[in-house]
């Protein structure tokens, strides 16, 4: 087995001398992102909770995007997807992404519809 590791992250912006150093670098980055999430979660800035983008608070969009960033670096560097053949990587990554987007879209749209039925219709949950 050949173990050639690609030793740069952020599209070559941050290069490492060896694999061990890359691991610690990725840990630092993941910790940094988690810290941002926690701080935002505690402060909940008015400007971010007040603004709504595509039916969801801007703050929640930021959380979801930061989560996907974290997931990317866990999969690419800790699980070595960066070093796998691109066809293998795509088969693993795009299959769930497609199915999950589909399922989430359908379930959330349906849930929003039910919410409106409870709100404007004749069904009450508070009697």
């Amino acid at each position: 087995m050949a173990h050639a590791h690609k030793l740069e992250i952020f599209r070559g912006l941050w290069k490492f001398k060896n694999n061990t150093q890359k691991i610690w670098g990725v840990l630092a980055f993941l910790t940094f992102i988690t810290a941002i999430e926690v701080i935002l979660g505690i402060i909940k800035p008015e400007s971010l909770t007040g603004t709504s983008v595509l039916g969801m608070k801007l703050l929640n969009w930021i959380f979801i995007i930061l989560t996907l960033v974290k997931a990317y670096y866990i999969a690419w560097d800790f699980m070595h997807l960066r070093d796998e053949k691109s066809a293998f990587r795509r088969a693993i990554v795009w299959t769930p992404i497609f199915l999950v987007l589909y399922l989430t879209f359908i379930l959330l749209t349906e849930a929003d519809y039910i919410y409106n039925v409870y709100k404007d219709g004749f069904v009450t949950w508070n009697f």
Binding site: M1, H3, N19, T20, I23, W24, L27, L30, T31, T34, E37, V38, G41, I42, K44, T49, N60, F63, I64, L66, T67, K70, A71, I74, A75, D77, F78, M79, H80, E84, K85, A87, F88, A91, I92, T95, P96, L99, V100, L103, T104, L107, L108, E110, A111, D112, I114, Y115, Y118, K119, T124, W125, N126, F127
Partner: protein
């Protein structure tokens, strides 16, 4: 005849010659395909959570107000403990990937130490989750449940802090005692009664003008709605029982679906962590015994590593959707 040959190639199940499809060994590829299917299972759970949440978007509990405890301390520290748990799990992911890296270089002692640290990290995480469950089940301040299954919580009017039932409820002598099997039909059991009855809470509420009722409805500012004194008294008439803590049927924090999904999703994840710890432990002993040294490569460490990172990956999403969003 000596036929015991142990070489590095014997466990390669691909039989099409030396060429491996997609450059991955059989074991690694199958681990990845398992992880993809497991990821879809978790996605199904989280999407179902999203469904229920969007359905009751106006009354869903606010996670910051539910998970506020840190072990060995009092007071309210939202997010802190779960952030620490997240960090512990990421840290154990790092020691795992360091073990894989040491395995590639055939450094047995380093693999042993890193595997050991990974197991410890995983055990601490499972313990933390058990503590979190215990705190959630025991409950915090207590609440009333109405005829329609809605939750009424209490707030101190002057400070705006949550009021616990014990802060204002008055004991009424002669209220119903817990049913014990020795006093009646022996097979009619009864779980422990809440500390107060509805009458005791209502009487205490009337006697203390500083207490207001808080409903589940979230107002446009993102806070739960506070009722006035008169509205509160009117609302209390529909209360049917006292709820302390959370289980699958009642939940003092608000929507019972929140508790159901909390138990189900973090439970399923915790089960993954537990099995991950056990698998890591088995591989740890194999490393100590020198199995992979004799096999000539540490690919097995890499495969369990994939599973372990996956557990971490799932937690990143659970953390976001249960505690942040």
């Amino acid at each position: 005849m000596s036929t015991t040959v142990t070489t590095g190639t014997e466990e390669n199940v691909w039989n099409g010659g030396s060429h491996q499809p997609l450059g991955a060994s059989y074991g690694k590829m199958m681990m990845w395909f398992f992880l993809v299917s497991d990821a879809l299972t978790f996605s199904g759970f989280l999407a179902a959570y999203g469904f229920s949440r969007f359905k009751f978007i106006e009354t869903w509990p606010i996670a910051d107000e539910v998970f506020t405890h840190v072990p060995f301390t009092h007071g309210s520290y939202p997010m802190i403990y779960v952030a620490l748990m997240t960090f512990i799990l990421i840290m154990s992911s790092v020691t795992m990937v360091l073990a894989v890296d040491a395995g590639h270089k055939m450094q047995k002692n380093k693999v042993i130490w890193y595997m050991f640290l990974t197991v410890i990290g995983g055990a601490i995480f499972v313990g933390s989750q058990a503590w979190e469950w215990n705190t959630f089940i025991k409950g915090d301040k207590g609440a009333l449940e109405t005829k329609g299954g809605r939750i009424l919580q209490f707030v101190k009017a002057d400070t705006g802090e949550r009021a616990a039932l014990s802060d204002f409820a008055v004991a009424i002598p002669g209220e119903r005692a817990e049913h014990q099997s020795k006093n009646g039909v022996w097979f009619y059991g009864e779980g422990s009664l809440p500390s107060y009855t509805v009458n005791e809470v209502v009487k205490g509420f009337k006697a203390n003008s500083n207490i207001l009722v808080r409903t589940e409805t979230i107002n446009e500012k993102g806070h739960k709605t506070l009722l006035s004194r008169e509205e509160s008294l009117a609302k209390l008439k529909s209360a049917t029982q006292v709820v302390e803590g959370a289980n699958l049927i009642h939940n003092e924090y608000g929507s019972r679906l929140f508790a159901d999904f909390f138990f189900f999703i973090t439970g399923f994840h915790g089960f993954h962590v537990l099995s991950g710890v056990i698998i890591n432990l088995i591989i740890f002993f194999n490393v100590v015994l020198g199995t992979y040294e004799r096999r000539g490569h540490y690919e097995m460490v890499e495969k369990v590593g994939l599973y372990w990172h996956f557990v971490d990956l799932v937690w990143v999403f659970v953390f976001t959707f249960f505690y942040l969003v």
